[in-house]
Assembly symmetry: C2
Homo-oligomer: 556 residues x 2
């Protein structure tokens, strides 16, 4: 047994906020039994992944070793923790363990992907234990921005690991279990080898605030607003949805929930018995007949997503409901970095309708689901680990968290995606690098982020596209002139000359000059024509386009 | 004279932070003499304007009336106020008036565009007056984030207008003139008809802070940092460059300025006599030989721009200098909304090098150049206008500013780009709508934002591009099979079939089925083939591509 080792290998989440996927292993080197904690996704953006539907972690390392995989554990139901299950489960085919609410969401993901929802097994909270090969896992409740979020106690023959999950130090989170320092201290009383810890908010030096601080300002807003109030938040933030609904109800407003995710999440929470005492809601049809001042909508689209309810309301109407002068729109949310322009478009469109838009600028209407630096320090103290491994964050956050831990007397290091850490002995050591990366779900296909497909799209977006058709006969003589089409480029160049005609003229001249050897050689001809196209386009309109040359050789 | 009118018409800047261009007119309706205040640009982004170089206001309304244009007035040297001068002056051909520093920058813009820099006329500050047809204009100094920023007193036969320019209420701005409440109160003692007022920071309820608060924390950083310190800010923020350089110098560090804009701006400021007592600087070559702990670099690239010094340092090196473990990088700046991802990339790349990155999260290292709400209220009180016209802001900011003004007893309204306001009488009234919009500088050509060119590029970025070549003979019979090429799409579909082959097969079948009437008709054939391509691509890979069909008809 002395040659067994305990390893930690993040395949996603350690270098980004998104697509969490953390592998733990125990056993002889190269034959460790494995568990995977979380299988999440990231969202694409126009600047680096235009047209992509979802971003998934590259789990091929794990796929190749799936005979050694005991289980997939899901800590909570956010997309960056469970969102890739439907797309990637088939590659792993291991049982999935989660607490009730999370398991229900996970089963929906499996169903949506045509997979067997029975692969998802519901687990009770600690002290309930799940035996997974050499691992014994307990789910302990943490406070977060959705119900039944969990941390994990992972007991191994080489010692105890604690995985914080996503957490905040909120004693009154509204829905879901409160932050429980006593329970955490109890865990910390055992000897904890390593704490894997959420790093999202390590840069924030202020103590976090509780969900319970939001009821009063949102209530005031609901009472004082003249017209209709529309509020948006993440649909999974069941506590927030309830906070808003209660504030509306107490202010004499009827509550209407809008947006597919909003309805799905509240339904699952109700089925799971989590969403008790929720105020009565009305249908969009009933809402249409309601005086505006007696109405509150809670809608999807806090990130400005084009197709969500908020953006549709900003563009005109959603489900027959529309906003106007005197109404109020509340972003009870934070804008994820990178979504500022999309959110701004919604806000300005609402402003043009005469709607008063409120956001969290004065920190009245939203609290984060992640622990800030002082709360992380308190967590360190409660769990009291030998080693602090920062996870769930961009590189700068992991680095800051590791520095913080070292300053506070723990061992710590940044372990980015693809780095394998050996945790067996007293000093953790990086022992391997495995290939990781991003996989794009693009339409119905998975493509590698480095395959060049999206790179070609970005190049067309920046430079436009010129494609040229040339027909040659069996003697390698041109049949007619080359034909150029352009897409995404100015139609005319200097002096008003049509760009495609300019290209065609220069190509015709080039072909006249080209020798028979060139005309007979596809590669040479392609290269020569491409160069001519690039020169003309740069000369005429100053752009460097993508160029495609199609050479057709007619053979009798 | 009673039929003369005073009009205000924003062509840019009233609906965005960027591309400021405000027209004022006085005279008989349709024959007003005109002045233009500012001629700025906006910066493109990948999500709405990929590949575009600059965004300019559509000034065709003014171009058509340039015989009536007395002058172009530039309030200060920021790109969103002077940046379009080189591109658009030719369309207007009016003299350009600005204060010394601004005029120097404006002349460089003219020179860069091959225009006559002598068209730019230097004006002293108030009480110096410029007579421009019916207008008398004075430039009064305001504090902002670059030197010699100005507001304008615009006297007309219909009364006095005050244009705030971009300003902050900073009594100690470091470089440039301080905020001067006495001078503003003096202006306000005359009867001011309307105040056109900066709205950028109207959402911020806290009083603004002074540039002078930054010296101490930046000094502390320079003293305590172990290795090299690299700081970035906008090059035009001469006061900040000086604050940083002085802090470095006092901490015993040699200062090296890096980046083209940084060198250009400090040179112009020195030539204009504004940048006095600047610490000695060293060359990049000398910096290379300097112990790191004795060195501070001040560099361009605060917005994460790919080609700027900061991003190059993050990727490896710039001018032979590079960063490593123990060094510190300071963002003495704010991230413009929409640039978060680019800045994040630079920060994380620096973090991977082991560099400590500091930003303005704790509000220690940057102050805004714009007045916050309490400062705007103080400005209203000092100038005491009948009418408050919000400008320089997104729609929500203009709306918030108008609401604020009305609540404080002034007349106010949102006047978005293209709306003409008649200010002649006691109650301002919207009297016309003129076409405005955005013009893209794309390579060397100007194209309309609504021309569809960039839309096509966005569509290719999202959906990829399929282009098909078909050759027909003089009898409308196909010569060989259709040929499909794809760019930016997964190469294989369901079951591993090559996508272009799948397209070609389906097209061949379609062409077999197609009657002679279809084959003889380019439009019908094009439409039919396009439909087939879309179906196959959706079926095989779930995408909706851009499709181009090239039909070549060989004629003997």
């Amino acid at each position: 047994m002395s040659k067994d080792r305990l390893i930690y290998l993040p395949l996603g989440g350690a270098g980004e906020v998104g697509m969490n996927a953390y592998v733990f292993g125990y056993g002889p080197k190269g034959r460790e039994r494995l568990i995977l904690v979380d299988l999440g996704l990231s969202f694409p953006d126009m600047s680096s992944s235009p047209g992509v539907d979802l971003i998934l972690p590259d789990i091929s390392w794990l796929e190749e070793r799936r005979d050694r995989l005991e289980a997939i554990i899901i800590t909570h139901a956010h997309e960056d923790h469970v969102g890739a299950l439907g797309q990637l489960w088939q590659k792993l085919q291991a049982p999935v363990y989660a607490r009730d609410f999370t398991a229900r969401i996970a089963r929906l993901k499996m169903q949506d992907a045509g997979l067997d929802p029975e692969k998802v097994i519901t687990v009770g909270k600690a002290p309930e234990r799940v035996e997974l090969g050499p691992f014994t896992v307990q789910f302990f409740p943490v406070a977060h921005s959705l119900p039944e979020a969990s941390g994990l106690i992972i007991d191994t023959p080489a010692g105890r690991l604690v995985h914080s999950g996503d957490f905040k130090a909120d004693p009154t989170p509204g829905v879901g279990e409160p932050h429980d320092p006593d329970m955490l201290a109890e865990i910390g009383r055992s000897s904890v080898k390593a704490l894997l810890c959420d790093s999202t908010n390590v840069m924030n030096r202020h103590a976090g605030r509780s969900e319970s601080t939001l009821g009063e300002p949102i209530g005031k807003l609901m009472r004082e607003a003249r017209g209709m109030v529309v509020a948006t938040t993440f649909a999974s933030n069941i506590a927030r949805v309830k906070t808003i609904a209660e504030a509306a109800h107490e202010a004499g407003r009827s509550v209407c929930l809008l947006g597919r995710a909003m309805l799905r999440m509240t339904q699952v929470a109700t089925e799971a018995g989590i969403l008790t005492d929720f105020p009565p809601t009305i249908s969009p049809e009933a809402a249409k007949d309601m005086p505006r001042e007696n109405l509150a909508l809670i809608v999807t689209g806090s990130q400005g997503e084009r197709r969500a309810a908020s953006a549709q309301l900003a563009r005109g109407s959603y489900m027959g409901l529309s906003m106007k002068e005197g109404d109020t729109f509340l972003f009870s949310s934070m804008t994820i970095p990178g979504n500022e322009r999309e959110v701004g478009r919604v806000v300005n469109a609402l402003s043009e309708l005469g709607v008063d838009v409120l956001d969290n600028a004065d920190r009245l209407y939203h609290v984060s689901g992640h622990a800030n630096r002082p709360d992380l320090e308190a967590m360190h103290d409660l769990i009291n680990p030998q080693i602090l491994i920062p996870m769930h964050g961009e590189h700068r956050m992991l680095r800051e968290h590791a520095k913080l831990a070292i300053a506070r007397g723990m061992q710590s290091m940044v372990v980015p995606n693809g780095s394998m850490l050996d945790l067996t002995g007293d000093s953790p050591a990086l022992v391997d690098e495995v290939p990781t990366g991003r996989i794009y779900l693009d339409g119905s296909r998975m493509i590698g982020a480095m395959d060049g497909i999206v790179r070609d799209r970005i190049r067309m977006a920046i430079g436009g596209h010129v494609f040229v058709t040339l027909i040659l006969d069996e003697n390698d003589d041109t049949l007619g002139d080359p034909w150029a089409e352009i897409l995404g480029l100015a139609p005319t160049g200097k002096g008003g000359r049509a760009l495609n005609e300019a290209i065609e003229e220069e190509l015709a001249q080039y072909l006249e000059r080209a020798g028979h050897k060139t005309l007979a050689n596809d590669d040479k001809l392609n290269e020569g024509m491409r160069r001519v196209v690039r020169q003309v386009v740069m000369e005429e309109i100053g752009k460097k386009p993508e160029v495609t040359i199609v050479i057709s050789r007619l053979v009798e």
